[in-house]
Amino acid sequence: MEPKKNVWDEVVKGLKTWARVNSPWVLHFNSGSCNGCDIEILSTLTPRYDMERMGVKLQASPRHADILLATGAVTRQARERLVRIYEQMHEPKFVIAIGSCAISGGVFEGCYNVMGGIDQVIPVNAYIPGCPPRPEAIIYGVVKLLNSLLPAGSQIPAALPVPENTPEEVTTL
């Protein structure tokens, strides 16, 4: 028989996910990228795209971060630093592989010092393709990852008022 739904558990679980979804602190690690993706990540924090309206803040230490934005095909030298950084992060943690190098090694696939994608080293929750992906794509990827944590159907409130005449499919992320 399905356990009786205890209202108090529901509220606590809802509160927890609400907190995690609305304050995703981000850490960026470049494991051998051509820094095209890195400057796009930085430009998501600057005035035009500004991820802080979603609560995203670039953190300095892996201990403070929830999401690891990993870019670049993992080079042999950066490999064990990436693993150590991933282990230093506290649960619950997520990894987003940004750029085609992070997904599959991209144009550097097959180079002797490159291990290929990030998922060969640490588990990855979301992939954002592109060389480099546009800042909008990075924001879309992060928001999609956050939406996946919410119970089905609900979404993060759009941080900006959506102008009236925008077509339907644009507003539903």
Partner: protein, 399 residues
């Protein structure tokens, strides 16, 4: 406190993951209190083995590989590679293509310098300048996107020419964008020369004398800030720089403030050049035919990237794959000199000194300078060994 950690001195690892570096580089600074006593760099985190990969790809496939050596100066790398291959096959790109290449190179220089102003302001802790300069940088990113379709890695080059053309509307939008950027650059130049707290972090810090810059082989704005006359666009003009000459922006003080001012003064030069190119863009085709098999031979090409002189060496053996491709990037020359400058400065100045040369590890990681034994940074060397090694190194070097 465990005993091996109660030393007078620490080794402060900066990197490979560090908010000061947007790319992986591992610097170890031994500090006595707040003063740096010895410094060395261990890079190689962004080394992907591009030179080997270039030997297994055809000339055309290499173009896409070369563009991704560095995300910020991808056009300069592609342009250098194309010039090298064209000189091997002694094909000359048509004048219109050369002018467009120089136009995109100058736009990229603006984009790279604005990016650099923001990053080094962020290193100094001046967030507002970081936010403002990156907001203005979006203008030049839009121009580049309008021209080539992509904000970064815009692959404008083809072997023998350029991929796109400029129509009147694009030219007007470039002119409008350049006017706005020029007015903003005046504002930033004023901020950098007069903002007292910013001057406290840049004036008289990381001073490099002309002799030091000469001996250490510093290149680009870092060298020009120490009055070393090295600018390939003036000394050895290539492609369209012959028809559109450029003046060199020089400074004599050689400290961080001078490096800021040289880069900003260079921007005015780029704005003037872009307007000049737009006014008299030569007519003609966009691409010259180039054979699939490039004849055997060697070619050396040197270009002025935003960070300094980039050197390309290509050797072909008549097949459709290069036999050897060598790239020497500007950051490695500046890095060896700047690491020696860090000694004696406060730890707080070190990120600013590193940012002063606008390091680009992705370019640079094809090559690096390692000074300490290949020890894993986590293994605790006894501090005494570390410090002694540092001091011996510098005493022998200074002889």
């Amino acid at each position: 406190m465990p005993e091996n950690l109660a030393p007078k001195r620490f080794t402060i690892p900066i990197g490979p993951q560090h908010p000061a570096l947007k790319e992986p580089g591992h610097f170890q600074f031994t500090v006595d209190g707040e003063v740096v006593t010895s410094a060395y760099v261990r890079l190689g985190y962004a080394h992907r083995g591009i030179e080997k990969a270039a030997e297994e790809r055809t000339w055309i496939q290499n173009l896409y590989l070369i563009e991704r050596i560095c995300g910020i100066c991808s056009h300069i790398h592609a342009m250098a590679y194309c010039l090298a291959v064209e000189s091997l096959a002694n094909v000359e790109a048509p004048p219109r293509a050369q002018a467009i290449r120089v136009l995109v190179a100058e736009l990229e220089r603006i984009h790279s310098h604005f990016l650099w102003i923001g990053v080094s302001a962020h290193e100094a802790g001046f967030e507002t300048l970081f936010m403002y300069s990156w907001r203005d940088r979006e203008t030049v990113m839009d121009l580049l996107e309008g021209l080539t379709g992509n904000r970064v890695n815009y692959s404008a080059n083809l072997l023998g020419g350029v991929k796109f053309d400029l129509d009147q509307a694009q030219m007007d939008s470039i002119r409008k964008g350049v006017d706005f950027l020029e007015e903003r650059t005046h504002h930033y130049l004023d901020v950098i020369m007069h903002d007292s707290t910013f001057l406290q972090r840049t004036r008289g810090i990381g001073v490099m004398t002309t002799a030091q810059a000469e001996v250490m082989g510093a290149v680009g704005p870092t060298a020009r800030a120490s009055n070393v006359k090295r600018d390939l666009r003036v000394e050895a003009p290539y492609s369209a720089y012959k028809t559109f000459p450029v003046q060199m922006a020089l400074d004599t003080r050689g400290d961080l403030e001078a490096r800021f001012e040289v880069r900003l003064n260079e921007l005015f030069e780029s704005f003037r050049l872009i307007r000049q190119i737009l006014d008299n863009l030569p007519e003609g085709p966009l691409v010259a035919r180039i054979p699939r098999r490039i004849p055997a031979g060697e070619a050396v090409v040197r270009l002025e990237a935003p960070r300094g002189e980039v050197y390309y060496f290509v050797k072909g053996n008549g097949s459709d794959k290069p036999e050897r491709l060598k790239v020497r990037t500007p950051t490695i020359c500046n890095l060896t000199s700047v690491i020696r400058l860090a000694v004696g400065h406060q730890l707080a100045d070190v990120p600013m000194i590193l940012a002063g040369i606008d390091p680009c590890f992705s370019c640079n990681d094809r090559m690096v300078q390692v000074r300490d034994a290949a020890t894993d940074s986590q293994k605790m060397l006894t501090w005494e060994q570390l410090r002694q090694h540092g001091i011996d190194f510098y005493r022998s070097k200074a002889k």
